[in-house]
């Protein structure tokens, strides 16, 4: 894993500040480590030569302070890292929301978008581990060994050479073993994933298993699959832990080697006790940062992954590049035309719409029929300004839609999506989404026309009942009717209805169809999947192979 994704440093100022702080703290740690070792050696050496307690008291106090300083630095690393993590994610979150609302509203499936949002909040723990523990360790792994080597070289060149020999062997061997084992372990991890998701599969299917009288037999299965999982994992770990062991071996053998070398030279009189002890105490510090690096790797890998996913999203191309400035013409009065419009999703191959032509005449109800996935929702997105055509243009009275002010154009529209979102808040709040200044009576009228007044008034607090996930959940039909109320509340010239009766029971479907009738007089684009619904339209157009084909036109009676 790279130590630092350069995008993080480029995009987030708190990260740059943190890096500066970490380097400063790292250098200070190195100095304190040297001080600590020197003091310890000095105290022992002086006492060895006969100094009483009183003579070394200052040194003892300083030693204690040195440790305290090290403790303070360790605290500071984590505090700074945690702060940076909180701030960086906050910046990312807000940018993410703004970008999604303004530039990429249709880019992601709603559920996926929700997952990324959740990660942008929960991911702070991983990022804290990354900024607070992993990054500082990287800095320390660069600074401390150098300082130790330098200091030891100044005291005793031979010892420094011994350390120098053992130190680089470590990463080299680790890299070699890592390369050798990586390919083998990766295949195993993939196989293991299947074993480990077995339990979730069984738990999810438990009712089905009980119905089939197979749930008892499954108990044995769980045990044997777990046992297989254990065996396979252990086989992988046996090899995987080797690189860590190499590091440990180098560290302890290095210390042992240094101790013996120094000891022998002491006997020969080539070195003083204080110098020898200093070198001995410093020896483990040489390897410590590297050893701890591995320990912090895993927790922080998750944090970095979350950050990178968010960065990818933030850097994805915007779906909506520009808004025009012209005040829009009303679709209630002018013809809206799709002129040879082609559209392809950036992530998918193939054209969803291919030189698609369509005319929406003022005041008519047009049904657009087609199989699921044929592109009906894409047509809606283009009209609503949630996407831009790849080729061709959408015009109102001949003027390209892109030249209009987007916000103003949207005010001329109302939309009932296939899966309407109910926001946290009351029933009124949800309907009021369409027009913030609406009065209560207007809301109730819209609700009545949409067939929603009945069930809303039946709620415990009526219109003031909190609905949605946090409050009282609504059924699919009820949500649809709230969305219709939104559309009715808005004095919009063009209403887009996306499969309004899909997944509804007979009664709800009838209510919704009646509410759709209330919209007559406005221009309505009805995306329909049932012939019954399409039959209510003035014109029916089929969308197939990316193109439109007129199927039926109701002649004026």
């Amino acid at each position: 894993m790279r130590a630092l994704d350069p995008r993080l440093a480029r995009r987030a100022e708190p990260v740059r500040v943190l890096l500066g702080v970490d380097v400063a703290l790292g250098v200070t740690t190195a100095l304190v480590v040297l001080l600590q070792a020197t003091l310890l050696a000095r105290i022992v050496a002086r006492a060895f030569d006969g100094a009483p307690l009183g003579a070394v008291t200052t040194d003892l106090a300083l030693l204690g302070l040195a440790f305290a300083a090290r403790g303070a630095i360790a605290w500071a690393f984590e505090a700074a890292g945690g702060r940076a993590a909180a701030t960086v994610l906050s910046e990312f979150r807000l940018e993410l929301a703004e970008r999604r609302l303004k530039a990429q509203p249709a880019a992601l499936d709603g559920v996926e978008a929700g997952e990324i949002a959740a990660a942008a909040v929960q991911g702070v723990d991983g990022l804290r581990a990354y900024f607070g523990r992993y990054l500082p360790q990287v800095v320390l792994a660069c600074v401390v060994p150098l300082a130790v080597l330098g200091w030891v070289a100044a005291i005793d060149l031979t010892s420094a050479l011994v350390m120098l020999v053992t130190l680089p062997l470590v990463p080299v061997f680790m890299w070699l073993i890592g390369r050798y084992t990586e390919a083998r372990t990766r295949e195993r991890w993939i196989a293991l994933r299947h074993l480990s998701t077995h339990f979730l599969d069984v738990v999810r299917g438990l009712p089905t298993l009980r119905l089939l009288n197979r749930s008892g037999a499954e108990r044995e299965d769980i045990e044997s699959v777990s046992e297989q999982h254990r065996r396979a994992t252990m086989e992988t770990l046996r090899v995987g832990f080797l690189s860590g062991t190499v590091l440990e071996l180098a560290a302890t053998l290095g210390v042992a080697l240094v101790a013996v070398t120094v000891g022998v030279r002491l006997v020969g009189g080539g070195l003083g006790l204080q110098a020898a002890l200093t070198v001995l105490v410093l020896a483990p510090e040489l390897y410590l940062p590297l050893r701890q690096l591995g320990a912090h790797f895993h927790a922080s890998a998750d944090g970095l992954a979350v950050a990178e996913r968010i960065l990818d999203l933030l850097e994805a191309p915007a779906e909506i590049t520009a808004s025009g400035t012209l005040p829009p013409l009303s679709p209630a009065n002018e013809i809206v035309r799709f002129e040879h419009v082609s559209f392809a999703y950036p992530a998918r191959e193939g054209l969803v719409l291919d030189a698609f032509d369509l005319e929406l005449r003022p005041g008519e109800t047009l049904a657009l029929v087609g199989e699921t996935g044929a592109g009906k929702s894409t047509v809606a997105s283009l009209l609503l300004g949630l996407a831009e055509p790849t080729a061709g243009r959408v015009t109102v009275d001949g003027i390209d839609l892109a030249r209009f002010d987007l916000d103003a154009w949207r005010r001329e529209l109302a939309w009932v999506p296939q899966r309407p979102t109910i926001f946290r808040g009351t029933g009124s709040d949800n309907i009021r989404l369409a027009r913030a200044e609406a009065r209560d009576e207007e809301i109730r009228t819209a609700a009545r026309l949409a067939g929603a007044d009945g069930f809303v008034r039946a709620l415990p607090d009526g219109y003031d009942t909190v609905v949605g996930e946090a409050g009282r959940p609504l059924s699919a039909g009820e949500r649809r009717r709230i969305a219709l109320a939104r559309a009715l509340l808005r004095p919009a010239g063009l209403v887009v209805l996306d499969e309004p009766t899909a997944d509804l029971d007979r009664e709800s479907a009838l209510l919704v169809a009646e509410a759709v009738e209330q919209l007559r007089g406005r221009t309505v684009l009805l995306l329909a999947h049932t012939p019954a619904l399409a039959a209510r339209a003035d014109r029916v157009v089929v969308l197939d192979g990316g193109r439109a084909e007129l199927v039926h036109e109701r002649t004026a009676a």
């Binding site: 105290i43 022992v44 006492a47 999810r204 108990r219 001995l280």
Partner: protein, 555 residues
């Protein structure tokens, strides 16, 4: 019994393996202590410039500790992970055994993916009971005792200082860190929950917010919730590092203390000067045992929280049981009936069904329709005894359903529908679940009746095609046909089809209903649906509303 002891009992951690892992872990630390202590002795003795031969033991000792430590560490890591994996296997089995009789009616909304994901995640968290929970403290205790004993053999006063230091660093510091973290953690968790809800809602509903021009208000709201979280998170970050920081402070004080005691002992003549360095380095190295404890305390609290959630589920007593003297199922064709049934799920205030009457006579095909949420699936649950009625009764062949064994009832009634689960295996295995002893011809027949045989045979891997998690590789229509095939394969005498055409478009739904009607021609069938396709060809149609039914009879 505390949560921890109950969890340990649940997973039955094998004592010998725990002892082995602890011994290896403690051994690792002790070798580290031995290495530094012996090296300290070696160097101090060498400073007296004796004959090199007198250093041999020390030199061998240093090399021995240097070599042994990494080996012990390697084996310790393996043994600890092995223990964790065994614990996981056992935990999964035990939890499964406990929730098996409760699913689905007694455990909340089984359709909630989050509930299940959390259940599995909580079970997985139990494997940390040793590795990141009780292991580190046990190792610290063992290694600590050894270090203090060795120090006591050299200089008792130093041993006392060391013991105090280790206890402070090993118990007081982690406990204080956890206590501090808990308060700030709670505030942060609340702010986090709030912001997650707002942000997820914004992201999911972004298209509507954009079209209705509410983007700017939303962003303002988010900014506020975000500010609250950042404040709380920053406060929390202050407490994060205190555990490590305090530990280093305690280490320093202890080492300084040990040195002070050693120096004064030497000055008063009761300690050989070559042992001062040994004591100091021994003290320093023994704090390695204590180093992971702050983190372990934090992780243990999370593991215990997961455990508590699990215990709450597994403690629930199963509400459905078999009678002491079960009746045998009737040989002749039988019907099912609900008579004046009132039923509710454990947590709800209102009964879902109240005074419901429904008859399913042998050989008849009956439809039960009603809006979603009206209680239709509850009827299916009652028929297979996933739920017992609160009032009234459910009968099979005229006798109360409670007189029969659950296994017999479920063998006689096959339920298929949108909630039927597909396992992550092949088509063949999934369908064969209906009757494991079925022959290949019988499998073929079932697929043919469900009108999906040709499609399966046309697949490149045919029967053995893998269906992916939850049947992800299949379309809705295909999945429902395979579910139907599974139900037809079982020789159940009654078929209950629960919303088989949900989420399918009109054309597919109609085609599926045609297949269903063809396949169920001579079987007693209850069709539960909210759609209208195919209703005109059913024998009876009942509507469910307000917990009761109304009937529209046909033929």
């Amino acid at each position: 019994m505390t949560t921890l002891s109950r969890l340990l009992a649940l997973v039955e951690a094998p004592r010998s393996r725990v002892a082995l892992a602890v011994a290896l872990g403690a051994g690792t630390v002790i070798c580290g202590v031995g290495l530094m202590g012996t090296a300290g002795y070696l160097i101090s003795r060498a400073a007296e410039q004796p004959a090199v031969l007198s250093l041999t033991v020390a030199i061998v000792g240093v090399r021995f500790f240097g070599l042994t430590r990494p080996l012990l560490r390697y084996f310790e890591r393996l043994s600890a992970h092995d223990l964790a994996l065994r614990t996981l296997g056992r935990a999964r089995r035990r939890v499964y055994e406990r929730i098996e009789p409760l699913a689905p009616a007694q455990l909340g909304d089984w359709r909630d993916g989050d509930l299940l994901a959390r259940l599995v995640a909580d079970v997985d968290a139990l494997q940390n009971l040793y590795l990141r929970g009780i292991g580190p403290p046990l190792i610290a205790l063992t290694a600590g005792v050894v270090s203090v004993s060795v120090a006591a053999a050299i200089l008792p006063a130093a041993a006392i200082v060391l013991a105090v230091g280790l206890l402070t660093g090993g118990i007081a510091v982690p406990a204080a860190a956890v206590a501090m973290g808990r308060r700030t953690g709670r505030l942060e968790a609340a702010a986090r929950g709030e912001l997650t809800a707002e942000l997820v809602e914004t992201m999911r509903g972004a298209p509507e917010l954009a079209v209705y021009g509410r983007a700017d208000d939303r962003i303002e709201r988010l900014r506020e919730a975000d500010r609250a979280l950042v404040r709380a998170a920053r406060r929390a970050s202050f407490t994060d590092g205190t555990g490590d920081g305090a530990r280093l402070l305690v280490t320093g004080a202890t080492v300084a203390g040990v040195l002070a005691v050693a120096v004064s002992a030497h000055a008063s003549g009761s300690l050989d000067r070559v042992l001062m360095a040994t004591l100091a380095l021994l003290a320093l190295a023994s704090f390695e045992a204590v180093q992971p404890l702050a983190q372990a305390a934090r992780e243990l609290t999370e593991t215990l929280a997961a455990g508590r959630r699990l215990l709450e589920l597994t403690d629930r007593a199963p509400a459905i049981s078999d009678p002491a003297d079960p009746a045998a199922l009737p040989d002749e064709p039988f019907g099912l009936a609900l008579e004046g049934v009132r039923a509710r799920y454990r947590d709800s205030e209102q009964p879902v069904l109240d005074g419901l009457d429904l008859r399913l006579d042998p050989g008849r095909r009956v439809a039960l329709v009603g809006p979603s949420g009206a209680g239709k699936t509850t009827v299916a649950n009652l028929l297979v005894r996933f739920l017992d009625p609160e009032g009234g009764r459910v009968t099979l062949g005229g006798r109360d359903l409670r007189d029969y064994r659950q296994e017999d009832v479920r063998g006689a009634i096959a339920v298929a529908g949108q909630d039927s689960h597909f396992f992550s295996t092949s088509i063949r295995e999934n369908v064969r679940l209906g009757r494991p002893a079925a022959t290949d011809e019988e499998l073929e027949d079932a697929l043919r009746e469900a009108q999906i045989l040709d499609w399966v045979l046309a697949l490149p891997e045919g029967w053995d095609t893998l269906v992916g998690e939850e049947g992800r590789e299949l379309s809705g229509g295909q999945r429902q046909r395979l579910v139907l095939a599974r139900a037809l394969l079982s020789d159940a005498r009654v078929l209950v089809l629960d919303e088989p055409t949900a989420h399918l478009d009109s054309a597919t739904a109609k085609a599926l209903m045609d297949s269903i009607l063809g396949a169920t021609r001579d079987r007693t069938t209850l069709l539960i649906t909210h759609r209208t396709e195919g209703l005109d060809r059913m024998d009876e149609v009942h509507t469910l509303a307000y917990g009761r039914t109304t009937v529209e009879c046909r033929g």
